[in-house]
């Protein structure tokens, strides 16, 4: 391909076209950041750095600070990871090592199908099925037994930070477990057999061979789930409660960046309001870019290592 002499013009055209389309894909990414930044200038100019430190979000007085949506996004994501990571590790381990062979493919498909269900269906299910269950049974129980903790204080309404995190948990489990299973499967068989040969139990092989071997890839899998959770919109918007106040209680309604955008973007009147929302979108995009970028790097490194 490098030899340009005697090259048919069709080849030059073909390579040029495909290169153009590939470059356009990168161009779209750059355009996305530039447009968001350009359109959020009124807000950046007005609030400067205080946009990221102020807890006030008031469309009437046109004072906008992003702390509450950002904190809501991070809190719901971290809680979801807290629930999802151990569960996903268990599922991945079961799929890669423990399940009988005839069961692996169908079970893996079933878990992956959880990822295919549209997020709005999760959100709706969360609102109509999970939230009442939380309000009537789970939250009163938590309050009765652990009510002395500030996390479980306040009225048990069902919708709120905890329910949103649980719905997010369900949504990211398939992503984390599918990638982790693939990482587990890439651990070379001789390594595992050597450990078994020394008399290790399955758990010891997992803990001392498979986890250390795949730790980069597993970190990547977790960050992949984190990136999904950070930007998830519909599932969260239904159940997070959409309220602007900070609270220690996980029962309290909150807000995330994505749910703020979903609820307010079309209603935003006034340049400053709209540009503040756009800046919020830019912040979300940059956070997920960093998280997903790390995830990609680690997952890829985990996979190339496995192939050697």
């Amino acid at each position: 391909m490098k030899n340009a002499k005697n090259r048919p013009w069709g080849d030059t055209l073909f390579q040029g076209l495909t290169t153009g389309f590939a470059a356009a894909l990168a161009g779209f990414f750059i355009a996305l950041i530039i447009v968001l930044w350009y359109q959020s200038r009124p807000s950046i100019h007005q609030f400067g750095f205080s946009f990221l430190t102020s807890t006030e979000w008031n469309p009437v007085t046109e004072r906008f600070g992003a702390v509450i949506p950002i904190a809501g996004t991070l809190l719901s994501t971290l809680l979801a990871l807290l629930f999802a990571v151990p569960l996903s590790m268990g599922i991945a381990l079961f799929l890669a090592e423990l399940a009988p062979h005839w069961l692996r493919a169908p079970l893996g498909t079933a878990i992956e199908l959880l990822a295919a269900i549209p997020s709005i269906v999760y959100g709706m299910w969360g609102l109509f099925v999970l939230a009442p269950l939380m309000a009537d049974h789970v939250q009163p129980w938590l309050q009765a037994h652990f009510g002395f903790l500030p996390f479980f204080a306040g009225p048990t309404m069902g919708i709120g930070m905890l329910t949103a995190s649980l719905v997010l948990t369900l949504m990211i489990i398939p992503f984390i477990s599918a990638v982790t299973r693939d990482i587990f499967l890439m651990v070379p068989q001789p390594l595992k057999e050597a450990a078994y040969g020394l008399g290790c139990t399955t758990w010891e092989v997992v803990r001392d061979v498979m986890l250390p071997y795949g730790k980069k890839g597993i970190a990547g899998a977790i960050f992949l789930g984190m990136g999904r959770a950070l930007g998830e919109t519909m599932a969260v918007t239904f159940v997070i409660g959409n309220a602007y106040h900070l609270s220690w209680s996980l029962f309290a309604p909150g807000n995330s960046i994505a749910s703020t955008l979903a609820n307010e973007f079309t209603e935003a009147d006034g340049t400053l309001y709209l540009s503040s929302l756009i800046e919020l979108g830019l912040v979300l995009f940059l956070i997920t870019f960093i998280v997903l970028g790390l995830a990609q790097t680690w997952v890829r490194r985990g996979q190339t290592r496995g192939k050697q």
Binding site: G10, A22, I91, P118, S119, V121
Partner: protein, 281 residues
């Protein structure tokens, strides 16, 4: 307790927990699908597929316009995204395996696959809806196309790489130019794989809501064209589920059942095709 017993005990605990986690995942899948099927079935009847939404408080009504809207926008999105995605995917597989542009595009495509779709909605709002002055089906289709693009691009790359090198060598040895080898042989060999990738991308955007909120919006009427706010299943589902009316909740469950069934059917179907194809090779 002996050390051996302790180790075996720890092993048994972890293994049972792992099995329980898998069971819990299956249980959640069954629970959600069961709820959607039970509650959605109540909404599925002839009127659901043929009538316009009824005003609040009135019984009956359907989501016919939203189904057509979703179908039209998804198809338009596929028409935009498929050539774009296949071409950029071809670059990644054929010309950009190791060079800087290839690395950058591959990385950005991977990030965009999981990027928040609502931000893409905001972007399309700013570059299409705001300059045009109104919401439109085209804007909705474009935002869906932007979500499909990186998915199609990366699957095309993977599928092209799966084509056995002997096929390339045979074509080139016969003196075929590179572009003819690609269009005449390699694309045909990879067609099933690329098509399944496209179908998975279509299934994914068919259930997308967030990017449509600010682009296609929604509409209770029949559309006269793509250049106006356009009814679609997911935003209708969102509006109806958030409404205080029971009739509308039922319609929302019906929409949820319809979307979920279509998306899952496409997913299962494409997996079967891919599975059969892998076996052939």
């Amino acid at each position: 307790m002996l050390l051996v017993q302790r180790r075996q005990f720890a092993n048994a605990v972890v293994l049972s927990l792992s099995g329980l986690a898998a069971l819990a995942g299956l249980f959640m899948l069954a629970w959600i699908l069961g709820d959607v099927a039970l509650k959605g079935a109540a909404a599925i009847n002839w009127r659901f597929f043929t009538e316009l939404p009824a005003p609040p408080g009135m019984a009956g009504g359907g989501l016919a316009n939203a189904m057509v809207g979703t179908l039209l926008m998804t198809m338009a999105a596929a028409l935009i995204a498929v050539p774009f995605g296949v071409m950029s995917g071809t670059y990644l597989a054929e010309f950009g395996q190791t060079n800087p542009l290839g690395h950058v595009v591959r990385f950005l495509a991977d990030v965009l696959v999981s990027a928040p779709s609502i931000v893409i909605g905001v972007f399309v709002y700013l570059v299409m809806v705001k300059p045009m002055g109104h919401f439109s089906g085209w804007a909705g289709a474009c935002s869906l196309a932007l979500i499909m693009l990186p998915v199609i691009s990366r699957t095309t790359e993977e599928m092209l790489k799966l084509v056995p090198p002997e096929m390339r060598e045979a074509a080139l040895a016969l003196g075929a130019p590179y572009w003819k080898m690609m269009t005449g042989i390699i694309y045909r060999a990879a067609a099933t794989g690329i098509l399944t990738g496209v179908m998975l991308a279509v299934a994914r955007v068919a259930g997308e809501t967030a990017p449509l909120l600010f682009t296609a919006l929604n509409s209770p009427y029949w559309m006269e064209g793509m250049n106006e706010p356009m009814a679609n299943l997911t935003v209708a589902l969102f509006n109806y589920a958030m409404s205080p009316y029971d009739d509308w909740h039922t319609l929302a469950w019906g929409a949820a059942l319809l979307i979920t069934m279509v998306v899952l059917a496409v997913n299962v179907f494409t997996r079967l095709i891919l599975h059969a194809k892998r076996r052939l090779w």
